[in-house]
Symmetry: C2
Subunit: 237 residues, 2 copies
DNA sequence: GAGTCGCCTTGATCGAGATCAAGGTTTTGC
DNA sequence: GCAAAACCTTGATCTCGATCAAGGCGACTC
């Protein structure tokens, strides 16, 4: 675990140009003085797909890539309880009662800061505290949305909802009526573990959506949709 | 809807003696000056079982009773995405993308404050902001826990997990080896909507646990367990 | 007390999705 | 390029939980 590789290139300051430039994730919230302080304490990492991201007392901006969060039952059954897509913000303060593991699904670039610094800044800066709270509430909404899917949707609605989620994260501003194509950053096993299904069912439902004409399977990992609206109809909500 | 009844008794100040006395929920966090300010702006309500609690721009301490949170699919399928047991803290800032409804399952007593006051206090008082964040993270952990149950547990594991949850909320400090009995504040329909099952399956699994000797069904709404540990074994995690 | 209504239980049957099995395709390593 | 491994698809069959159906029990009304 934790095969993190430091990639401290001289020309990329630690709280990285990418962070500052994007003004998204958490970094847009800081002023110049704070960015300077963070720069000293932060570091940029790149980790290959499959790496577990240990809870090492940091927060990170996810600059690129996709991360999954999983909960396991004692006999090995696995449930994916969330994803992080760039430019999300990762890491959590306070101890969780039951462990949740984070793992990179694709190659991932992170910019991490010690939690203590952010926590101190949040004390001085109510907007930052609000932002953290808002962020957490969004995660909560998403989790509850997927609870409804897990508990009450059929297999084909689950698969459609999943595709819609990935499409939205690929291009949040996409026009609902125009076609879109995207890579699935997950194996069929991961999709199944997210949707509470088996890989066979996921495969069958994807094939069904293809023969319907709802999706085109360019290759195993790349999907294209005629429109977001069309897949949305099949989500059940 | 929203048949809230104000119960402003002269001898119960609005930020109520019960709140102050308990030092739990959110109220333990405030100092005397803040409590005085809150007292002016807050009010105590009691609502009967079955009432919907509208999102009216307040936070509330739940003094007694149980509240369910639900998400509905377009065709009426329902999923319960969370419960609040006394002395939880209810209400959320920021707008949710998809609506979640809150409904009293039992008669409920609430002490509510306008959100604006709490938000202002959170700005002045980082510990309060932290407390709100911690609270939200706990809800997130719980939601993720139930995602794992919904996606990967069998019907009997789900029912066992549910009973354990109610038992724990009834008496958080209960010794794991000693017997415990408690009321189910839910109908079979609600249990089913929480666990992603049908009422028939819930009923059958309860009957099965009874004939196992794991539980005793005193009456439809009252259960007793030989021990928490015994039911814990059947939860799959 | 009889009737009605809401809620729960139990039995019989059905079906969506799991499991078992086989083969195909893509990736990786030499 | 070839072999091995990993991943994916499709078919056949099975099973868990859903659905359909009937009846029980308690609370409330008249």
């Amino acid at each position: 675990m934790a095969a993190r590789q430091d990639v401290q290139q001289a020309d990329v300051p630690a709280i990285c140009k990418s962070c500052e430039a994007r003004q998204d994730g958490l970094c847009g919230a800081f002023n110049a003085r704070q960015l300077a302080e963070l720069a000293k304490a932060s570091s940029r990492h790149e980790v290959p797909a499959g790496t577990e991201l240990p809870d090492d007392g940091t927060y990170s901006n996810l600059l690129s890539g996709v991360v999954k969060l999983t909960r396991n039952l004692s006999d090995g059954r696995q449930q994916i309880v969330g994803f992080h897509f760039a430019p999300d913000f990762l890491g959590r303060p306070f101890e969780a009662k039951k462990p949740i593991r984070a793992e990179a699904l694709t190659n991932v670039a992170l910019c991490s800061f010690p939690r203590a610094i952010i926590d101190r800044m949040a004390n001085e800066m109510p907007e930052l505290a609000r932002l953290l709270l808002k962020h957490t509430l969004n995660e909560l909404d998403e989790a509850r949305d997927w609870m409804a899917a897990l508990g009450r949707k059929t297999a084909s609605e689950k698969v459609a909802s999943f595709l819609l989620m990935v499409a939205r994260n690929t291009d949040p501003a996409h026009h609902p009526a125009s076609p879109i194509s995207f890579d699935l950053p997950l194996t069929r096993t991961d999709i199944a573990d997210f949707l509470g299904l088996t890989i066979e069912t996921v495969s069958r439902e994807l094939s069904r959506l293809r023969s319907d004409g709802t999706i085109r399977i360019v290759n195993k990992r790349q999907i294209s949709l005629a429109s977001m609206a069309q897949i949305e109809e099949r989500c059940g909500d």
